[in-house]
Amino acid sequence: MVEVIVTWLAALATLGIYSILYKENPIYRFFEHLFIGLGLGWTIFEVWKDVLQPKWWTPMVVEGKWYWIFAFVLGSLYYFIFSPRFAWMARLVISTFMGLSAGLVFKVTAAIYIPQIEASFRPITFHPSIARGINNLLSTIILLCVILYFLFTISHEKQPLAGASKLGRWFIMLGLGAMFGSTVMARLSLFIDRLTFLLHDWLKVIKF
């Protein structure tokens, strides 16, 4: 029984969201607010179950680590943000968070971009396969031109840089176009899945 209700609710929710494609209307607005409300309710549950209980309440009350109350003190300082006289206390916590996350940039940059730097070392050798050599040469030229395009404090009027950065912008456009084209399939399959749900699971008008 619950299955049938779930299928019907899912179908109505899907059609409600799709109504925005025609124009903004009360049906969409209803499902929009419903969606945000459900999301908030779920987050309230998740924040307690996954963060506050296991990482704060249990260590403090059950395991006796009394010093976790300071996390509560710091967390409560946020709430002084609305009072002009005490707002500086909120800034204590905010500025500490800003400093900590700024310091994190070195590890994040290393994890994401160092492998990219290593991958840019491509041998321009034509021995095993000529195509690979040409492609590696082209990749290096593209890398050079696109980086030159991003130079801000050097004027792009003078010749060697002007041509290279224009070429760089053209390669960027080709790259963006290729990225766009390669994503079309994935986005369409999202809709095809929804359509097969509506036609097969809900209306049962097509068979698989």
Binding site: V2, V6, L9, A10, A13, T14, R29, H33, L34, F35, L38, L40, G41, W42, I44, V51, W56, E63, G64, W66, F70, A71, F72, L74, G75, Y78, F86, W88, M89, I94, S95, F97, A102, G103, V105, F106, K107, T109, I112, Y113, Q116, I117, S139, L143, F150, G168, W170, F171, M173, L174, G175, G177, M179, F180, V184, M185, L188, F191, D193, R194
Partner: protein, 264 residues
């Protein structure tokens, strides 16, 4: 770490907790009274500066078998950040509630949708807590209807609208107006054709081997992806790496005008 050892006995524990609660607010009150506005500002800027050293030093300092003197603190600090951040969630909830309570109170047009939002929030939170902690079967049914019946499908439906938007975006953007648009359009069409069997059929008459085979649509499309696209993404990545470090340094040394918590 001696003083920070756990306390098992419940009454002593409550004493410790209450004492530290009162103690910290006392310290804050004293700071509030005796520190001048400028001193508070400088203290806040100093906090940003000091906090910046934690993760950067932990990353750069040499680590003997994977640990340096800061490494043991990474996990607790991470948990503390998550917990303190979690305390900001109710504040965010309050900010949204104020907006929507305002709609209801002033009976602004469409106020009943704000009511729907409140009801949905309470219904989902209650049914989630009751079914998880109290294992009530009625709560489990309601939760299943709300979660599997509405919440998940709403997300999947919203994401699937991307199929429509990608079509209208392509229709509007790929116009022969300037070089940028032409290049982007050309690469997009080739890669799109390379993904469907019909596209491959268009150039299936070309030989399978040899130089000419590189003109087959799937090979041209793959060339765009593996040579052009990968190198462009890599070059953009180099810029972002440097830009990210620059932004972090501007924040770390409080150089950004709008974000100086300690004031100028």
């Amino acid at each position: 770490m001696k003083i920070f050892h756990p306390v098992k006995d419940p009454t002593l524990l409550t004493v410790y907790i209450v004492a530290s609660l009162v103690g910290s607010f006392l310290v804050l009150a004293l700071m509030h009274k005796f520190l001048s506005l400028r001193a508070k500002g400088r203290f806040i800027t100093a906090l940003t500066f000091l906090a910046g050293f934690f993760y950067s030093l932990e990353f750069f300092l040499p680590a003997k078998n994977g640990k340096n003197f800061l490494t043991p603190w990474v996990e607790p600090v991470g948990d503390a950040l998550a917990v303190i951040g979690a305390f900001a969630f109710p504040l965010g909830l309050v900010s949204l509630a104020i907006v929507h309570w305002g709609n209801i109170k002033r009976k602004r047009e469409g106020w009943y949708f704000s009511l729907v939002l409140f009801i949905a929030t309470i219904a989902m939170a209650l049914s989630a807590f009751l079914s998880y902690y109290a294992h009530l079967s009625i709560a489990k049914k309601i939760y299943s209807c709300l979660f599997d019946g509405l919440y998940i499908p709403l997300g999947v439906a919203m994401m699937s609208t991307l199929a429509f938007y990608i079509v209208s975006a392509a229709y509007r953007a790929f116009r022969v107006t300037n070089v940028d648009a032409i290049l982007m359009m050309g690469a997009a069409i080739i890669v799109m054709l390379g993904q469907i069997p019909f596209g491959m059929w268009l150039t299936s008459w070309l030989p399978m081997q040899g130089i000419v085979s590189s003109l087959r649509i799937e090979n041209v499309s793959n060339w765009f992806m593996t040579v052009v696209n990968m190198s462009v993404q890599r070059a953009i990545g180099f810029g972002l790496a440097v830009g990210g470090i620059a932004m972090a340094l501007r924040v770390w040394f409080s150089l950004e005008r709008g974000m100086q918590m300690g004031g100028k």
